[in-house]
Symmetry: C2
DNA sequence: CCAACATTCTAATGATTGTTAGAATAAAAC
DNA sequence: GTTTTATTCTAACAATCATTAGAATGTTGG
């Protein structure tokens, strides 16, 4: 009867791997596209050594793979289903953990002055894109945009937002997106663009969720 | 920037809760229907005190709730999505962890003498039920059957299999199911019934997966 | 081959978790 | 009210995990 226990212990490795905030942040970044240890360490605010250790952990649990490219190791997700898995975790947590709501609103607190929290759902966005009534804005850094983005999205990394305003339409609503539901970039963008008088809302989800849903990407 | 970390740490509580073989076994049992601490402790082969501690852990992570019923506390899942979450974990683990395959086949090794591992998929089962070409056999204990089962299933708990053979048809194929993909009951049943000359296969999944898929239950 | 760089490994530390046995609590039965 | 039964809490210990600093490995570019 111990082989049953072994099986569940091995399955639990996947859970364990998902059981650390630092690793979830690493995964959020990896889901944007392959990245080096240093990139990942800085995204998660970890020392390189520590990030490497967490990445080994994720690797042993079968969640990421690494390939060498020159001097760097590039980590990527083994499986698109992980994005779905993490979305489900998020939904379960938001539904059943009272604390989550508080933390989400705190994270976006200062960015929610004038209703910037109201998000566009996937269906709304799809409808808007079909009729051409919205322009899509990707505010992630350039290299993440290059690794994959929503069709017809314009890339203006958040740092360059004010200097690239001429790329944005005035006559249509703008929908901004970034890495995912817990990424602050699009919130920040919405806040800043609203101050400048743009009609802009953020998209509910990010690039990984869009891709995992089987929707077309570029 | 620490509120972002807090958010992911809280989300990670869900992962942590899923990061223990003992807790996954508890959840497999809870997914069959509400159960007392003692029932759960014996299902997971834990002392009652230890099981209680794990259940508190699951509770804090928002995965289960408890209500008192007389002397007993009854634990149940907070959320049907957890069954989907665990199925996804299983798929990811089976796809990406080589060890899983070995462990699954070891768990069912002795029960796979004559191809008893070949399972019926959900679609096959649905088709067979529609045409009336299969009889459904639920080999879980009586109380789990009573808490919910697939429509038209006959309940013969594994221990009573040989003494209740007259409930089983000889002219149709029998499909046996139990708690889920890693439950040995239906395997054992298939093996024993085949020795007796019955035409019988097992169902891929269990009652919780069927229910979580939104299919009708009784 | 050497120097520079990216990553992983090692060893040591502190923090967290799992487990047990036994005490405390809470409801039910008498 | 006292006893019984089910569960949770407490304290203690062992085991596991996260983190850091620094050494070791492997790759690139001279």
């Amino acid at each position: 009867m111990t082989s049953r226990q072994d099986l569940f212990d091995t399955l639990a490795q996947v859970g364990k791997a998902l059981g650390s905030g630092h690793r979830l942040i690493l995964l959020e970044r990896i889901a944007q596209g392959e990245a080096s240890v240093e990139t990942l360490a800085s995204a998660a605010d970890l020392t390189v050594g520590n990030a490497s250790a967490h990445l080994q952990h994720l690797r042993r649990a079968g969640l990421v793979t690494a390939t060498r490219s020159g001097k760097q190791m590039l980590y990527r997700l083994t499986d698109q289903r992980l994005v779905t898995l993490m979305s489900l975790m998020r939904e379960v947590a938001e539904t059943n953990l009272a604390e989550m709501e508080r933390l989400v609103s705190r994270l976006f607190a200062e960015k929610n002055a004038d209703g910037a929290l109201e998000a566009v759902s996937r269906d709304e966005l799809l409808a808007g894109l079909k009729t051409g009534s919205v322009a899509l804005l990707d505010v992630r850094p350039e290299n993440e945009f290059a690794a994959g983005h929503l069709p017809e999205a314009i890339n203006i990394p958040l740092e360059q937002l004010e200097s690239m305003l001429d790329e944005l339409p005035r006559d249509r609503e703008i929908v901004a997106y970034c890495r995912g539901p817990y990424c602050v970039l699009s919130h920040e963008a919405v806040q800043r663009l609203r101050k400048l008088g743009y009609r802009v809302r953020r998209f509910d989800e990010g690039f990984p969720e869009w891709k995992a849903a089987g929707l077309p990407v570029h």
